[in-house]
């Protein structure tokens, strides 16, 4: 674990693995609920990191927090902890065929593998309600498109690297589209508005039969910013 200062009053906790980062996030949230991190404005997970954003008070408050975190060793995440959300998916995305080719399996098998494992929201970003979900094994990690599409429909279920993501609204995107859902991921009438918050467990339920399609190449544009879905 490394503690890296960020700006005047934030601290980045860096871990060796994504699993450790998720354990730290859970533990930091628990600690805040119990009132011991009240000086921290926001706790923001990343892939291997958790940011403690905006520690109020004098510089000594930040130093004290650093010293305290140095003694932490959060327990690992219990596999079935965290709220569970089930998301119905039609596995008929424009890139299902291409993903099947990359994995060396049939499109039906992509749907079976993807819906057969439990996913977990590691962190959010890119857009309100966009969750980066882990759960697929290393053999099923998927490169993103070299050139993103100019428009990906809202509700698209997509893969990139180790992650599954669902586009909350229509936007440009470079992830491989394997299916679609009609679930509303961002609803301001809901508290919190995001359906998928960090730490949420997710199961994808196949609905309809997966159609096999050739890899889509339509609607792509020049190089997009890496790191964006």
């Amino acid at each position: 674990m490394r503690l890296l200062p960020v700006g005047e009053n934030s601290l980045l906790v860096e871990l060796d693995t994504a699993q450790e980062a998720q354990s730290w996030y859970v533990e930091l949230l628990r600690s805040r609920r119990e009132g011991s991190l009240s000086a921290v404005q926001d706790i923001v997970p990343g892939d291997r990191t958790v940011l403690l954003y905006g520690v109020s008070g004098p510089p000594s408050a930040l130093a004290a927090l650093r010293a305290e975190l140095g003694h932490w060793s959060p327990p690992g995440i219990v596999a079935d902890s965290g709220p569970l959300v089930e998301i119905p998916v039609r596995y008929d995305g424009a890139d299902l065929g291409e993903v099947a080719r990359i994995w060396g399996v049939t499109p039906q098998e992509v749907a079976r593998v993807h819906s057969g494992v439990e996913h977990r929201v590691a962190f959010c970003g890119f857009a309100p309600g966009f969750a980066y979900m882990t759960g697929l094994g290393e053999e099923h990690h998927t490169p993103r498109h070299a050139a993103p599409r100019t428009s990906v429909p809202a509700g698209s279920v997509a893969l990139a690297g180790p992650y599954t993501g669902i586009y909350p609204r229509s936007s440009p995107g470079g992830w491989q589209l394997i299916g679609a859902t009609s679930v509303n991921l961002w609803d301001l009438e809901r508290e919190p508005p995001a359906l998928l918050t960090p730490g949420t467990r997710v199961r994808f339920l196949p609905c309809g039969s997966p159609a096999s399609r050739p890899a889509g190449t339509e609607g792509r544009q020049g190089r997009g910013e890496r790191g964006q879905p």
């Binding site: 200062p5 980045l12 940011l51 954003y53 857009a127 309100p128 980066y132 919190p192 960090p198 890496r226």
Partner: protein, 306 residues
């Protein structure tokens, strides 16, 4: 006094409603947003008797013109611009009283980029997650103003500030940005760190509320592997693959996959909000101790500290 409304006579190139933003939702992917030039936003509110969190109008490059349904007090701050009330020249950075049906015209800035228009009571469109700020990255908050729009205005909160002169710093002719190195300065060569501290950069025309982009010599990375996505902060100086540093502003994404070489303290960002494309930029690596001194000095400043 009952609530009123503003009618947008001329929206200008980009005028948005802004307040102090919606911090605290970054874990859901929600940017902080809020007025880019916070001292100017706060001063405008103070001049009309509003609390700092009341929403103002943030104009960009070409000003704005509004008509008020009831007698109201206005103030224009930020980038200096010609102000006309009822067609007659009126003071900038001062309380301006308008009768019912009166118009306030804010011209293009004579220098700088963004002027702020406060009205007594503040504009009060429906808040989203506790803020009325328009977030241009995510599309949260009230849409940018269009000609003919109407905006509700709250009941006046307090008496306007009586002042002959509010002290304001002029928009920068050269943008000097203090930088606290890290968290990823070790991802760059020592040559890149020297370049950051010594080279001349300039503000790119691709800058917006999301980021101030720069042109200048590229910063070379020592670590070439991909950075796993991590949380970003407002003020982060991120270096994408082209090597040109990008300074994240209020509407920046909450996570990113490029290394952050350093962070500009909040007190340095108001000047960034007013730097027009082509403005010279210098980054000055600063100690945390010195940054704290600069911040506390700016908090003590009279009305429009930087």
């Amino acid at each position: 006094m009952r609530e009123g409304e503003l009618r947008v006579v001329r929206a200008g190139a980009l005028t948005t409603v802004q307040d102090l933003g919606r911090p605290g939702h970054a874990a859901l992917g929600v940017p902080r947003s809020g007025a880019l030039d916070q001292p100017a936003h706060r001063l405008a509110n103070r001049l009309v008797g509003n609390p700092p969190g009341a929403a103002t109008l943030e104009t960009t490059l070409t000003g704005v013109c509004v008509r008020t349904s009831r007698a109201a007090v206005f103030a224009v701050t930020g980038a200096p611009a010609a102000v006309r009330a009822e067609g007659r020249p009126a003071a900038w950075a001062s309380a301006v009283h308008l009768p019912a049906g009166g118009t306030l015209e804010v011209g293009a800035p004579t220098s700088g980029l963004r002027s702020y228009v406060a009205v007594g009571g503040g504009v009060t469109p429906q808040p989203v997650l506790g803020s009325r700020s328009r977030d241009l990255l995510s599309g949260l908050g009230p849409p940018p103003l269009a000609d003919g729009d109407t905006l509700p205005v709250g009941a006046p909160c307090g008496p306007p500030l009586h002042t002959d002169l509010a002290w304001c710093q002029a928009p920068p002719s050269e943008l000097v940005l203090p930088v606290l190195l890290g968290p990823r300065e070790d991802w760059f060569t020592s040559e890149a760190l020297r370049t950051l501290a010594s080279a001349g950069f300039s503000v790119s025309s691709r800058s917006n509320r999301i980021a101030l982009r720069t042109e200048g010599p590229p910063l070379e990375r020592a670590v070439r592997r991909e950075l796993p996505s991590e949380a970003m902060v407002v003020g982060a100086v991120q270096v994408p693959t082209d090597g040109r540093p990008v300074v994240f502003l209020a509407d920046c994404p909450t996570t990113g996959g490029y290394p952050v070489i350093g962070v500009v303290p909040e007190s340095g960002l108001a000047a960034a909000a007013q730097a027009v494309p082509g403005t010279a930029v210098r980054f000055v690596p600063t100690s945390r101790h010195r940054a704290r001194l600069l911040s506390s000095r700016s908090q003590r400043g009279a009305c429009y500290p930087r």
